[in-house]
């Protein structure tokens, strides 16, 4: 596969405060040896619960959080090895859409300036061409020209997310990290934004690294899916394989948890694979499979020995008893 972005052994460790001056320092390993590859013009979804490390993995890949170790190749070049100024210039190709459309736009800035700022910072074009570009971006994402001088609070949640998308598109990036871009929106608005993202991808050949906890959204927009649990990828598969034949019990539980119109209270629907409790702490994680405590199929082996990602049909799965 001709990968645009390829991560190998990506690891992010955060040092924790010491309990006392003589104590050994604990580390929180948010991402533990993650490999993934994203081909040009495609969308890779990373799905998992809060705390699974999905956002940290994606942000570490484009160096928005650190300190990361491992290797992240973007068009063959290791991003983690770049100096600060080289990395800054590379940001032209790497943009982000954040989860919360309320806190990710400066409330004291006019939206025209918010969308223009990446062009100013990266020195793209001249003054007049930047203004023209902002107007073009506004119409691309479905906003009107007369809304250019307004402030973020004058827009609804969905419109703000359109502004975020316009800002991410400003420098004509190759890759956009979408960090739960629709989870703060009503479902009716969510559909608008998802369709917009798909349309823009076709128009500009964008690649998305798409983070979500909702498998319905993932299925709608991602060709490839990686399921993360406690800092590791536990299953990775093309869309068709993941949704027709989920192999990891955690993936199955996520699918059972996704709301669906077919699951009717009136028909006496009972959820088959119930997930109990919360994931274990990422500080000193258990030695075996991290999911063993919540897994309906767990055996003694699962608690002692950690399963590695291994191929199974079209999928990769890290489970001793997949299927």
């Amino acid at each position: 596969m001709n990968a645009l972005l390829e991560a190998k052994g990506l690891t992010v460790r955060f040092p924790m405060p010491k309990r006392n001056p003589f104590a050994k320092r604990d580390f929180l390993e948010a991402v533990r040896g993650v490999d993934f590859a994203l081909a040009e013009g495609r969308t890779l979804g990373i799905v998992g619960e809060s705390g699974s490390g999905k956002t940290t993995a994606a942000m570490a890949a484009i160096r928005l959080t650190g300190p990361a170790t491992g290797e992240v190749r973007f068009r063959g070049e290791d991003l983690l090895a770049l100096g600060p100024e080289e990395m800054r210039l590379r940001r032209r190709d790497l943009q982000v859409i954040f989860q919360d459309p309320y806190s990710s736009l400066n409330p004291r800035d006019r939206v025209s300036h918010i969308v223009r700022e990446p062009l100013d910072l990266l020195g793209v074009g001249d003054d007049a061409s930047r203004d023209a570009r902002v107007e073009e971006l506004f119409s691309l994402v479905g906003l009107r020209r007369d809304q250019l001088p307004l402030f973020p609070h004058q827009f609804s949640g969905g419109q703000r997310q359109r502004i975020s998308i316009a800002r991410a598109l400003a420098t004509n990036p190759k890759l956009i990290v979408c960090d739960e871009p629709v989870s703060a929106l009503d479902v009716a608005i969510q559909a608008q934004i998802l369709n917009l993202l798909v349309r823009l991808q076709g128009e500009f050949g964008l690649s998305y690294l798409f983070i979500s906890h909702d498998l319905g959204v993932i299925r709608q927009i991602c060709q490839d899916v990686a399921v993360m649990y406690l800092g590791r990828i536990v299953e990775q598969a093309p869309r068709a394989a993941l949704f027709s034949r989920p192999l990891h019990p955690y993936t199955q539980a996520l699918l059972a948890a996704a709301p669906s119109l077919a699951r009717r209270k009136s028909a006496g629907y009972q959820r088959p694979a119930k997930l109990k409790g919360d994931p274990p702490s990422p500080i000193n994680p258990p030695p075996g499979c991290a999911f063993a405590e919540r897994c309906p199929k767990a055996q003694a082996k699962c608690r002692e020995e950690r399963p590695r990602l291994a191929p199974d049909g079209d999928s990769l799965v890290a489970c001793w008893f997949p299927g």
Binding site: E49, S50, S156, G157, G158, Q159, D186, V187, A188, I189, Q190, A191, Q192, L194, N195, V198, H213, D214, L215, G216, V217, R219, Q220, P238, R239, A240, A241, F243, S244, A253, L254, L255, A256, A257, A258, P259, S260, L261, A262, R263, R264, K265, S266, Y269, R271, K274, L275, K276, G277, D278
Partner: protein, 327 residues
Amino acid sequence: MALLEIDELKVTFRTRHGPVTALDGVSLRVEAGETLGIVGESGCGKSITALSVMGLVPSPPGNIAGGAIRLAGEDLVGASPRRLRKLRGSEIAMIFQEPMTSLNPVFTAGDQIAEAIMLHQNVSRAEALTRAVALLDRVGIPEARRRAEDYPHQLSGGMRQRVMIAMAVSCQPKVLIADEPTTALDVTVQAQIFDLLNDLQRETGAAIMLITHDMGAIAEMADRVAVMYAGRVIEEGRADDILDHPKHPYTRGLIACIPNVGKGEGGEPPPLAEIPGVVPPLHLLGAGCAFRERCGSAFDRCAAERPRLLGPAAHPAACHAVEEGRP
């Protein structure tokens, strides 16, 4: 007589655009043991409906301008603040959307639940705390005794929402109002909370009013559904009828815009159906149907005349196109 009846409720707010009508003749009823889903986008009046029942509409600027709310026959609109305080928590309880902001950060989870118990039942503090621990255990918090001593910031989002639920059910209310109880949560935790609410309802026979913007949640939780738009109920019926045979174009849109986790289809899913635009600001509502700007079936009558809730009593809808049998 239903357990909870809302009759032609009208709520107005004073705003800088002049008075606006947030609820315009909303009528709903919920029976004991039944879950009524109230669905619609932000700004449709779902939460104001819930706050009206709780007697928590901020006044001023809000004002209940007309209509009645009756709990087991007792009028709540005209009830004294003292009587309402008595009913809140013991007869009607509410689970709020944001567990982080609705729990008190300086008291432990156990203390907050015990407070609700002591307010409404004549028990000692020790007894109330014991009951609080039992409730935490019931809502599925592991090591409940230890967790009761935790402050809200020490709990995960899902656990905080469980504490909210434990508090809400502590006095076995007859009516439980859940205002988007899972929007801030992961789908896995959402599934746990839904299962918990369904279990509690089976045990206590409480009526649940579930407020949501997600038709998927409606399918799993609701027996009956009221769809709201711009302060009115625009369609109502049994959950199956609404989900399988939606009438109003807005209801159809809300159902069609849900991404599906359906099995087997490997190819590119078709684009999602969209409802274009957003809910109009209430002060800009004209004479006609509030949905007409976003509606594919709108015709001239929709601009002139506001549709009324018509059709069979079991499944009425407020739409001129439906009334006239237009496609």
